[in-house]
Structure formats: C-alpha cells, structure tokens
C-alpha cells in the first residue's frame, strides 16, 4: 500500500494513525482518582496508614485489598447492567428514563413467580399468588421478567420511532407507568422468600459475573455487527441513515427493547441479590445509569461512545462511592462530588469536540 501514498494526497490505511481512543482518557481519570484516594489515605493522620487499593493488613493472598475491589465492582454492577442498555439508547441520540422504575416493576413481577412455597416448614408468609406460582423452575420468572422488559421497550420504541414523541417525554411517561405497575402488582407489599435457584442469580459475586459477561457481549455486538454499526449511524445522522436504506424506525424499536430487557434483567438480579422485591426499588437508578454512560464519554448528541467507556464510567462512580467511605467522608459529600464529576465529564466532552472541529 506504500506506493499509493505517493503523489498528491495519497490513499493509505495506516494503523498508526488511529485516533487516541477517548476510553483511554476515562481510564486515566480513573487511575488519577484512585491515586488521589490512596494519597489521602496514606497521609491523612486519622487514616492510620490504611491503603485504599493495597492489602495493608495482610489479610489476603494478593497484594490488593480484595474486599474493597469486590465491593467497588459489586455495588455498580446492577446499575452497570442498566447502563449497558442506556448506552446504546444514548448512542442513537435518545434517552431512557424509564429504566429505574422498570427495575422495580420487573423485580416485583419476576419475584412473584420465583417464590418458594415453604419457608422453614411453614407456608411462605409473603406469598402473593396461590401454590400454582410456587417453586416454579427459575426459567419462568426470568423469561416473564425479560418479556415484560421487552414489552415496555417495544412501547417506548414505538412511541419514539413511529409517533415521533421525544424520547425524554416518552420514557418519562413510562417512568411513571412502571412505578405504578410496581406498586399495583402486590398492592405495595414487599415480595420475599425466593426459591434457591432464583436466589442464586444475584448471590455473592454473580451480579459482577452478569455485568462483565453482558458488557463483553454488547461491546462485541456494538463493534462487530450490523446492529452496532446502524446504531452509531442513526445517532450520527439519522437522515443519512434513512437515505442509506437502514430501517431507522425498526432499528430504534430494537434498541429500546434491548435497553429495557437489560434493565429488566437488572431488576431480576437486584431482587435476587436483595432476596426481596419492593415497589420502591431502583430509585434514581436511571439517572445513575445515564451518569455512568456520560462519564464514560457517551455523547448525548449521539453517534459516539462505547460499552467499554460505560464500564469505565461505572468504575469511576464505584471508586468514588467506595473512596468517600474509605476516607470517612459523609454520603452528602459523595453526592456533591458525583454531581461535579458528571458535569465535568460533559464539559470535557464538549471541549474535546470543539477542539476537533
């Protein structure tokens, strides 16, 4: 190919000319934040030389403080699963506000089909349905939960793509509808005592397993499949996508369905992890999921960003949460800091865009 690069201009495919991936910036920011916490921990007098990242008390086999790392990733993994879907929606230049309440509604629906009949020999005190819904194989609550998510996503997508309702409004409506469904499903009562199989889904580090697995799958889908390419194309220039023969409406419905199914799955994992389902679950999850995506460099104008970015964004939020606890600062400071970081991420993104143009 070298000879074609001679003369005027030249036509090359130069691997070294790849642009600096924006994910690297987030990764650097993540490292900086960790280092800051580490320095505070080592130097602040009241910390007594504890380490943020490393195993200072020699409790684990590795040099890292495994307990803290586990907590960091565990506490972001449920919202992280939602964020994977929200990322795809934002890449199409949309937004999904309905995911938090959808988590609660799916948790209620799935858990009501995942209850066990007898708790310690006596009948389940929180039983919602009769014995026909007890001790069902775990596949039933999971499939019903995902189907419910798909239905909500299809409704979102249909209103947005076919009736041209702004995504913000359509999903805001669905936000209220889902919260209502969650309350109505059991009349506001919590649903508890799942079967062993159901409890396994979110037990221990399983949420992390799901999060990492799904993140890998969707990163591959977004990079290497027609679905991913069309998602980026629609967010970049919807008109061009339509002129190119992409069925934009059908594709949008598909994206919203996938996003809602991921949120529904997060609801199943969360209810299993908590071993109970409550109508108030998942409060502000939709906003944290959007925050993860935004910190991860997903442009709200659409067309840019990646799943890896969102995973890193999730890690940034997790590290900040854990770090503030570690340096013994109140939760209120945590919220203030997170808010600032979200705004800073958007400012940085716009700054980068302006520099490029």
């Amino acid at each position: 190919m070298a000879d074609t690069s001679q003369g005027t201009g030249g036509l090359t495919f130069d691997k070294s000319k790849r642009t600096w991936p924006s994910e690297l910036n987030i990764f650097l920011a993540l490292i900086i934040i960790i280092v800051v916490f580490e320095i505070i921990g080592q130097t602040a007098p009241y910390m007594r030389g504890q380490s943020f990242l490393f195993d200072s008390k020699d409790r684990f086999d590795s040099i890292f403080n495994e307990a803290r790392l586990k907590i960091i990733i565990l506490q972001v993994s449920v919202i992280g699963i939602i964020a994977l879907g929200v990322t795809q929606v934002i890449i199409t230049a949309g937004i999904d506000l309905s995911s938090g309440p959808l988590v609660a509604a799916t948790a209620m629906i799935a858990m009501s089909l995942g209850q066990t009949e007898f708790v310690n020999g006596s009948p389940n005190p929180k039983a919602l349905f009769g014995s026909w819904a007890m001790d069902l194989p775990v596949i039933i609550p999971v499939v019903v939960g995902l189907a419910f998510g798909a239905l909500i996503g299809a409704i979102n997508g249909t209103f947005i793509a076919f009736f041209r309702i702004p995504p913000f409004i359509a999903t805001l409506g669905m936000f209220l509808v889902c919260r209502g469904i969650a309350l109505w499903w059991s009349g506001g009562n919590p649903i508890s005592f799942p079967t062993e199989q159901y409890a396994w889904i979110g037990s221990g580090m399983m949420p992390v397993v799901w999060f990492v697995l799904l993140a890998i799958v969707f990163q591959l889908i977004m990079s290497f499949t027609v679905y991913g390419k069309h998602t980026y194309a629609i967010g970049s220039n919807e008109e061009a996508a339509r002129m190119s023969g992409i069925n934009v409406r059908r594709h949008k419905v598909m994206v919203y369905m996938i996003a809602s199914m991921l949120a529904a799955f997060a609801g199943i994992v969360l209810s299993s992890k908590a071993v109970t389902a409550q109508a108030g679950m998942g409060e502000f999850y939709e906003l944290f999921a959007i925050a993860m995506a935004v910190i991860g460099g997903i442009s709200l104008q659409g067309g840019r960003g990646s799943i890896i970015g969102t995973v890193l964004g999730a890690m940034v939020l997790g590290v900040i949460q854990s770090g503030f606890t570690y340096v013994k600062l109140d939760g209120s400071y945590q919220l203030i800091a997170m808010g600032c970081i979200i705004i800073a991420a958007v400012i940085l993104d716009q700054f980068r865009q302006r520099n490029r143009a």
């Binding site: 190919m1 074609t4 003369g7 005027t8 201009g9 030249g10 036509l11 090359t12 495919f13 130069d14 000319k17 790849r18 642009t19 889908i221 290497f224 499949t225 027609v226 679905y227 390419k229 069309h230 980026y232 194309a233 967010g235 970049s236 220039n237 008109e239 061009a240 996508a241 339509r242 002129m243 190119s244 023969g245 992409i246 594709h251 598909m254 067309g303 840019r304 490029r356 143009a357």
Partner: protein
C-alpha cells in the same frame, strides 16, 4: 422505445400550490451519456432532479427508467432501482469512517443467519473502499478518519465515491462542486471523467460553465420551469448557452411553450 434510453420523462410537471416550478419537461438520457442541466436560480433544475429521485412526488407526467415506467415513493426506492444521487446536503454519518459510510445500509457481512447481529466484514469493506477510491482516483489521507474530521472537499469526494463504487445505473449530481476549492473541484471532475470512461450515465446540475463545457455531451437549459434548449456541446459555446439561460434565445422546438 429503444433499449438505448436510460431515462425518459414525458410532460413532467410539479406545482407547489400556485407556483408552477416545473412544467411539461420532456427529457431523454441515453446510455453512457453525460448531460448537464443548467439554468438560473429557480429555473426548475433542482425540482426536476427531486421528481426523478423520488424525494418529491410529481404533480403529473411520466418517468421511464431503462424502458420501465417508474414511480418512486422515496429516495430509497430510486436508489434500489439504481439511481445514485449526490445531494447538495451530503448524506453522510459524521461519526463513521470512510468504509462504514460507503457501505452504510449495504454492509458486507458474514454469518448472516445472525439476522441484525450478523458480523461485519471490515476487511472486505476496507479493501473494496480502497479499490473504489483508487478507481476514481480520490485521494483521502486516511480512510480510518471519521467524516467529522474531514474537509468539505474530502466529504464530497466520499459521497461521490460512494456512488461510483457501486456501479449505479444512473448517477445524479446536484451542484457537486458548489462549495469546493480549486483542487477539490478538480478531483470531483476527475471522478466524473472516470465515470464517463466507464460508460456510466450521469446528470450533472451545475452553474459552472467551464466545468459543463469540459465534462458533458449535452446541455439542457431550464428557464422559468420549462426546458428551453437542448444543446449538443460540440455545436454550442458558452455565450450561446448564456443566451438561452437569460432568455435572449429559445430553441424553435420549445418556443411555443414559452
């Protein structure tokens, strides 16, 4: 009708409310022919193009494409039939790179049983892009660049290369060099010459007299929504064409309509 005719319109008419933007246009394009459409602003050039490409629906009249009467319901229909159009507003996705844009909506794929999740053949598309760009002698420093990072001329070249790569049955360019610099204009003109050498028919809407005289076989002049002249390039010159555009002259066969 002879097989030789690529596109034929009969009495093509478009009214926007009371405005008669296009009236009774009879037009023929033969195989391998490059035709320019000229005329003053508002003469009906772009309206004519929009009726052929299905962007708008005509008020009346008929259109034949390769001997078949057609009525495109949208630009996509026209594209599927083989009419590639470079519009004044470029239909490119800013955040995608050159091969992605060239193959947008018709990606090379494998594992097609995966439906919407079928895998992209990046390597094949990249190679086809390089071949296509080489064929049309388009110079783009790095095809890995996203469109956002390209100059206006490079964007235009990508848009044109897209039509050239896919061996369309008819290419329509609506003022492709209006916003370009000298070098970039030369590049676009080179592409048009390449298409000519390969015998691909082309309709070029342009204001640039030198360009038209350089590139095409025949010039159609529009005036106030009507065709007022059909000139062979070899039998005319710039001044003559200007006379038709401004209304100083009208060819006898079109005179009764004027």
């Amino acid at each position: 009708m002879s097989d030789d005719i690529v596109l034929k319109t009969e009495n093509l008419t478009k009214h926007y409310g009371g405005v008669h933007a296009l009236q009774g246009a009879n037009f023929e394009l033969r195989r391998g022919e490059h035709v320019a459409i000229m005329g003053d602003n508002g003469a009906g050039k772009s309206t004519f193009v929009r009726q052929i490409t299905g962007v708008e629906q005509r008020t009346s009249g008929k259109v034949w494409f390769y001997g078949e009467e057609v009525s495109f319901s949208g630009p996509l229909d026209a594209r599927e039939a083989g009419i590639e159009t470079v519009f004044q507003t470029l239909a490119l996705a800013d955040d995608l790179n050159v091969p992605d844009n060239l193959f947008l909506g018709r990606e090379k794929t494998y594992a097609n049983w995966l439906g919407p999740f079928r895998l992209l053949d990046y390597k094949g598309m990249r190679q086809a892009t390089i071949d296509g760009l080489n064929k049309t002698a388009v110079k783009i420093p790095n095809i890995r660049n996203t469109i956002r990072n390209m100059s206006g001329g490079q964007r235009q070249c990508v848009a044109i290369a897209r039509t050239a790569t896919f061996h369309s049955k008819l290419t329509i360019m609506d003022e492709p060099t209006a916003a370009l610099g000298v070098q970039e204009t030369a590049q676009v003109e080179n592409i048009i010459r390449t298409l000519k050498d390969e015998g691909e028919p082309l309709i070029l809407v342009s204001h640039n007299m030198r360009q038209v005289m350089d590139l095409v076989d025949r010039i159609i002049v529009f005036r106030r929504g009507r065709i007022c002249a059909d000139l062979k390039k070899d039998e005319t010159d710039g001044q003559d064409v200007v006379a038709y555009i401004t209304g100083a002259k009208t060819q006898p066969q079109f005179a009764d309509a004027m």
